[in-house]
């Protein structure tokens, strides 16, 4: 168990054969051709068989979606309860902790004494998707959803999301909710993978 230092090999001397460019160029071309041929085979097999033989990393984006892990932080979303109202109680913790100060809340009270946000504005052009609002929220009311599409606009004023735009039904956020409930001293811990 030790950290040691090691000199790197500078292969300072090339043999005349190596210095003549040709062998190394051929070796390099054999590597790129190997990639070419295996990828071609995969592409042809995919066209012919329809099975997923493709060896290529890239995705056909609009047709294929990347796999989003549960821990992914997408656009913040306000959770809508099953009765259609928002879970948020307008306590303002997210507003305080938000590093770029992109959240602003005006709170109000319902007849039954429940606090709720009259307006909840999140400036999507300032949000840095850090997830601190989600961590601060004591009510699991603001969640980083797995929504990552259509976040861009030509006009910044269109990126200021109102409460209505941010509200998501809770059932769409189950995966993310489970992931964040396991955090800190939550359910998931002490497990070696």
């Amino acid at each position: 168990m030790a950290i040691t230092f090691k000199k790197v090999d500078r292969n300072a001397k090339l043999t005349l054969w190596e210095a003549s460019y040709v062998p190394e160029i051929l070796r390099g071309m054999s590597i790129t051709m190997r990639h070419f041929l295996t990828n071609m085979a995969g592409l042809v097999m995919e066209l012919a068989g329809g099975r997923k033989h493709r060896k290529i990393m890239t995705l056909y984006y609009p047709e294929e979606d990347p796999v989003i892990p549960p821990s992914y932080r997408g656009r913040p979303a306000l959770v809508r309860r099953s009765d259609g109202l928002e879970k948020c109680v307008a306590c303002g913790l997210c507003e305080v902790i938000c590093p770029p100060h992109c959240i602003s809340i005006v709170g109000a009270e319902r007849e039954n004494g429940e606090r709720y946000p009259l307006t909840y504005t999140l400036d999507g052009s300032r949000c840095i998707f850090c997830g601190l609002c989600e961590e601060a929220c004591p009510k699991e009311a603001i969640i980083m959803s797995h929504d990552w599409k259509n976040l861009c606009e030509y006009d910044r004023s269109k990126m200021i999301y109102s409460k209505e735009q941010l509200l998501y039904p809770e059932r769409n956020l189950v995966r993310r909710l489970e992931a964040i409930r396991g955090r800190y001293f939550g359910i998931k811990r002490y497990k070696n993978n």
């Binding site: 990639h35 992914y72 699991e140």
Partner: protein
């Protein structure tokens, strides 16, 4: 030799002029937004003036207006090719100030994620270096390898680039299920791509001629200029923060730190290539030895309550409100904590006056010191040599300009 011949001044007689060109701020070679004011005599660089600051966004001032935990997203944006390392550096600095000891499992996970970030940083740097010398396929192979590392980091941290994963006294979350398997699979492919890249370039004479004996600096000069990291080790100076001032669990691990001998671009390249390998080794060792246990300190002052806790216990909820609104109170004092970043020594000098916000949070960026030596490295060489030298110096705008 006659007197007339001795006095013959070629430049005077041939009526040539120096050519002054602006390289940057948006030039294909100046990724990271920097400007070179290059004075050329033909193809030879007579003089070079480096202008930085195009990515300045007041990191340090911004930190003073954030709570201690709110600084993490900003540290992500320093060296954005290896952002978790900055997270770790800042967290270690604040923990040192508080005197907090993180659980062992947390240290292990930090090491794993940090080494993966170092890999991603080196992949970016070497890949971009290859790209700028025209070897596009090699670049894409390393981008592919980096993509695999990013997939793993994304599954742990929740973002591909700006991870924001580390917290004071711990981490935000446990490793996901099947992480070990994912690492084994990704590293197998990474090693294949690494060897492809190596075979494409390391012995290729065109690449060797471009890199070898170009942009060199002696060990003494490198130390004078404040070099750290791979660029210093390329000069043959055995200095690595991981060994000099072990943090996390590096002293319990078994790995090699590559050293160069002449300090030219080729040595920098080789050192970085080898470091990728060693990082993979470190991650595998850590995964093997990782103990089970908590990932956060068991101290309600420092860890945030879990969602279950805060919604069920009123004391916990009140404490949470207080912590978020006032900020966690870090005892007054000042501390400097260096770590080995992807580019060199990333240090955080943190001052607290006992409040909920940092009084001062200074970052020591490695690439600032490296970039300041650019004139030393390239004056007298050809214009084309500026490109590999600048690449191997690896200026990361976010880190250098802060």
């Amino acid at each position: 030799m006659t007197d007339a011949k001795k006095d013959y001044d070629f430049h005077k007689e041939s009526h040539t002029e120096r050519m002054v060109i602006n390289m940057g701020p948006s030039h294909p070679a100046t990724h990271g937004t920097v400007k070179f004011l290059v004075t050329l005599d033909g193809e030879t660089i007579e003089d070079i003036d480096v202008e930085i600051g195009y990515l300045h966004r007041a990191f340090e001032k911004e930190c003073e207006n954030q709570q201690w935990s709110g600084v993490f997203p900003y540290t992500d944006r320093l060296d954005y090719t290896a952002s978790v390392l900055n997270n770790i550096g800042y967290a270690l600095a604040v923990e040192k100030l508080i005197g907090l000891k993180t659980p062992e499992r947390c240290d292990y996970i930090r090491t794993i994620i940090g080494e993966m970030a170092r890999m991603s940083g080196h992949y970016t740097n070497l890949g971009a270096g290859a790209l700028e010398l025209g070897a596009l396929s090699a670049f894409i192979y390393f981008v592919e390898a980096r993509e695999l590392v990013w997939d793993l980091l994304e599954s742990v941290c929740g973002a591909r680039l700006t991870h924001n994963y580390v917290r004071i006294g711990g981490l935000i979350s446990e490793l996901p299920d099947g992480f070990g398997l994912g690492v084994a699979k990704a590293f197998k492919k990474n090693r294949e791509l690494w060897s492809d890249f190596d075979k494409l370039l390391t012995k290729n004479r065109i690449f060797l001629d471009r890199m070898r004996d170009v942009g060199g600096i002696s060990a003494e000069k490198a130390i004078e200029w404040g070099f750290t990291g791979p660029c210093l080790r390329a000069c043959g100076v055995p200095f690595d923060v991981r060994k000099a001032e072990p943090y996390l669990i590096y002293d319990q691990l078994d790995f090699e730190i590559p050293l160069g001998s002449t300090g030219d671009n080729f040595d920098r390249y080789l050192v970085r290539m080898e470091e990728i390998n060693q990082s993979m080794r470190i991650v595998e060792q850590c995964l093997e030895k990782m103990p089970e246990g908590p990932i956060n300190v068991d101290d309600p002052n420092w860890r945030q309550p879990s969602k279950d806790e805060s919604s069920k216990k009123i004391e916990s909820l009140i404490f949470h409100f207080k912590a978020v609104i006032e900020g966690q109170k870090v005892p007054a004092g000042e501390v400097y904590q260096p770590i080995e970043g992807a580019n060199g020594e990333v240090g955080f000098y943190v001052v607290s006056n006992g409040g909920g916000k940092p009084y001062k949070c200074r970052c020591r960026p490695p690439s600032f010191a490296l970039t300041s030596a650019m004139p030393q490295l390239v004056t007298g060489s050809m214009l084309a040599d500026l490109i590999p030298t600048f690449d191997m110096i690896n200026l990361i705008g976010g880190e250098c300009d802060r």
